[in-house]
Symmetry: D2
Subunit: 340 residues, 4 copies
């Protein structure tokens, strides 16, 4: 590379002299092009490219407090307009979704409170969000009944985590529910650590109930072939990571296992690489594994995903128009049976 090649594109300064749409601001960030703002603009471009790429299957990996952050309807809308094709989630986010589907709520609160008082009041805290215990208790009993019903139908047959998610979605009425929307739209939701959430406690409750004839069984490994098959059959694959953790690892592992390194990758996280943990690992590192292509469109935005992802979505929705509905490449929900 020659010297002049390094000095091609001057930073253009941001100009705000009236009302800007979100995407107009993102275009300014693209023109300035450096540090966090530059990376955010790149993330918007990559997401748009994924959406417009007719051969691409889009994986959304969810960790952190997605629903308490107010992103529930956002995710539901992405599912319904098929701006995402596959969801990989922690158990907790689906629990939070289910709580609201049963008319529970997350309340705006404060992180600076007396937690012992909250404890005595039976209020649970998630940073600056409060949830009343009764919303969890209602979930426990309604879902234990749901587990019983599913178990009775399945008669000892084990479910995969995605089948489990759809069985829940099928039984929820709330159209704003992520689980419901995914079921209706046949968007798979993988929950690789399903046991590590209230769903695990509910299972305990369910299994302890008297006269329980059938116990719901979820096989830990049964969702592996489907997610690998989706990656494998899709000409291209893209990943958007909110946070990191098990959901990020699951998507990347599926790409590796199916020998289909990802073509697009957006990671939004506060984690950093130095401790060697997966959540903060650079996208460069994933190249060595064959999880992401070296020529992939990829970017890592360092920041609070629960603030940054809505900005990206707003920018991309503006580009697409509000009525946009994407046609997915794969009929994902039926893949597994197709494959047999």
């Amino acid at each position: 590379m020659k010297r002049k090649d390094y000095l091609q594109n001057p930073v253009k300064h941001i100009k705000i002299n009236g009302t800007l749409t979100v995407d107009q601001l993102m275009q300014q960030f693209k023109n300035s092009g450096s540090f966090g703002a530059g990376r955010l603009a790149v993330a918007c471009d990559i997401y748009e490219k994924m959406v417009r790429d007719k051969e691409c299957t889009i994986f959304l990996a969810l960790s952190g407090a997605v629903v308490p952050a107010g992103m529930r309807t956002l995710v539901t809308d992405l599912i319904r307009s098929r701006l995402v094709d596959v969801i990989v989630s922690t158990g907790a986010s689906m629990v939070h979704d289910a709580i609201e589907a049963l008319n529970g709520h997350h309340y705006k609160g404060s992180w600076n409170v007396d937690d012992h008082e909250l404890y005595k009041y039976h209020i649970f805290r998630i940073y600056d969000v409060f949830v009343p215990e009764e919303d969890y208790v209602r979930l426990d009993y309604e879902f234990a009944e749901m587990y019983r019903e599913v178990a009775a139908e399945k008669r000892g047959e084990s479910l995969s985590s995605n089948e489990f998610a759809w069985e829940l979605g099928k039984r929820l009425k709330d159209p704003d529910s992520i689980l419901r929307a995914a079921y209706e739209e046949e968007v798979p939701i993988f929950i690789p650590a399903v046991r590590d959430s209230e769903f695990g406690f509910i299972h305990w409750l369910h299994a302890s109930q008297k006269n329980q004839k059938d116990i719901l069984q979820v096989d830990a490994f049964k969702d592996v072939p489907l997610i690998c098959e989706i990656c494998g059959k899709s000409p291209k694959n893209g990943m958007i990571v909110i946070g990191g953790g098990v959901p990020r690892n699951t998507v990347q592992s599926a790409a590796l296992a199916s020998k289909k390194a990802l073509d697009y990758a957006i990671v939004i996280t506060m984690d950093r690489p130095e401790t060697g943990g997966l959540s903060g690992a650079t996208l460069a590192e994933t190249i060595s594994w064959g999880k992401v292509k070296s020529e992939a469109d990829k970017v890592m935005v360092i920041g609070d995903a629960l603030m940054i992802f809505p900005i990206i979505v707003a920018s991309v929705v503006e580009r697409l128009g509000g009525k946009f509905r994407r046609t997915p490449y794969l009929k994902l929900g039926r893949l597994e049976s197709d494959g047999e």
Copy 2:
């Protein structure tokens, strides 16, 4: 509180004028008592207190690159001397342990390399550690065979993640293996997201093999009752968290489910609370849930756990003497059958 109550203990300055043992330095940190050094000293004291509390069951939650960081023997030794009673781990850490048990290695490398070259060389990178692909391939085939063997023995019976871990440990010869030591010492290893690691890929391989009569089945929820029972039957419970993620959540959820809020808690992490994620959540927040007692001995050390945990262990081992072997309160390995 009166004014003078705030002004009781002056910071005493650190004095290093010759050789110090690790614990002597920690005593200095206790005397200075502020910021990271103060919290590190508190963590040493809490761990010592847990170990000396004959009624306490100690949970070690492992996430991040524990084995590539050189902490494999450290964890094995903690198991053998029973300075930990229960391990909750990501799948990845147990995969890394198994790789070394099969004579594979993690190599000291650099984060500043050409990842595409590594890819072409079939070398995987974990920040500044390299692992050759052949070590994974060997693991895949030897463990697929192990899965087959276990499946043949179990004949369709589902295992819990901890039973799965012991079945692996039983079949590994290496005395330095975490899985082996846990099996021998009857220390349960829970792997709540077992599918999210090479163990998931190996299962796919195993299940795809021709003439496979029995397929290994791991039930996603089956380990829930045991971990809750351990918490429930133990008069006191303590937790040490390396990193956060699913392992931290699993321990805390067991405490909540069994209505035995933790008596001791040490969290070592780089994560912070502001995004609402679990890994960075303060220990104050856990009080609201009933996961940790408000009067518990607890501390959160902000730092690279893979550097800080060995310092804590060195300090506590120095206090206990190298020969120390703790007698656990519960015979944990047999709990489940006892319970029936």
Copy 3:
């Protein structure tokens, strides 16, 4: 506080089904109200309140790579419309401004380059921004001449850092220059660590030149009375911090010294409190000192200020209308002489 008081305001979920203006998105963030998005919405509200408060003097504390981030015109526009009244800056930001005023540029680059090659090419790197050495060399010589000229005028009289900034601004032609705009608008720019930047090297150059009759003198303490007087005479004071460091400390110290704890405070930073450093210190901590009022409107947004501040400005400008020009309470530029 009663139980029901904690459970008043449910998180309302973000809805993006078409084009949103930046402020419309901020209103959604206000409705969701939690984590980073909630704090960002609060920051927008506080800044609007500051601007509409006719008795408030607004201090903008600048650290980090403000100009390479593309925020140069943004700051200039804030000065010209008087959405800020006083600037406290590192030397580096004013150096970067001056480089562009002399037709130099910051170029969009990459952090992932061979720095030794850049060194050989005489290109300096600021994360993912490149600056050619010749832009610094031009600055050095033109500013050394400027120093000479100022020194000749002042004849041994020492300047304060803000007088120094205005003398530079007076001599720059570029209307987009922060220094120029501040000079024209009589907005003081304090540079408490002026020596710690290229301005220090230029001074060395200037002082080493042959036949140098007068040496430019900047008194380290001379700007203290003015900034304290501004705080003291202003009925209310507000602070916006980009990053932290010396500029944040200088504003807070002025508030303390003048016994006018701040009424409004917005801090945008990636720094955290645990190490005890000033940049990451909570706004709660500042209350103990009397730097910020306990009843102040205040918020700390954890994130990359160079991405977040433009969002806040866009939201507030949208509320005010693009033509808005604020009338400041104090004639700041003349304060010092008024005082005598």
Copy 4:
């Protein structure tokens, strides 16, 4: 590079089976060699190498709450045994040192307190450290008197920040004082942002006093030639950074200005590079500027410097022996006059 070159050094696992000295633990970290522990071990080796290099001048850049962290005596001892040659500090750290020299104290406290109560009690908080206001008031009056005395001696002559520091050190009796030790040992202390601390307020107090004949004058730029000359005359230069900010920038700028890129560099910080700020900038980036040599021994340790630096010192002091006193290459204190 060939494939096998990447796979040379297996991670050796940490073994703790009895009492370890701090350096024995660091040797284990060297053998494991990855992530934070590996970088910490490298930092110990580099500091040892700097100390044993007879041609090297060692700069210690101090930011953050060094004295409240209990590192006051540690720094004093480093000065007296000449394990550091030059100090570059924030004003605040020298203020904290002076407070203790005048029999004030920093008290161990808690970050989780009612800051408004502290305010009413006239107690200042620095994260989990408390300082009573009267210690500041005493400082203000005793130092204002000191300023008067120095001003009377200097009769209008401006001091550099390092001359100012020595004038203070000369007047303090406490042998544990950093300022005192530096004065006695002729170790320069540069305070590039001297105005941004209680020293600035004291100046205001001093200048406001009635019948003040001479006002103490500190020239903002006057310390530039000396620090550049030290770098320039020293065959080799090394830097240890606690935190970052202005002190780090000042050392690096001196290296650049004197065309003597640093031969050794250790940076200990929680800051990261992504926002473009100086404190978190990688050492690779400094190569492009010519601030650090590309072949320098250099490492960046991500962590709380106030916990990590004492560990490094303990390890190096153990290697050197407690009686070790280093002979500096330069007689730094007299450099300036030599140069004329």
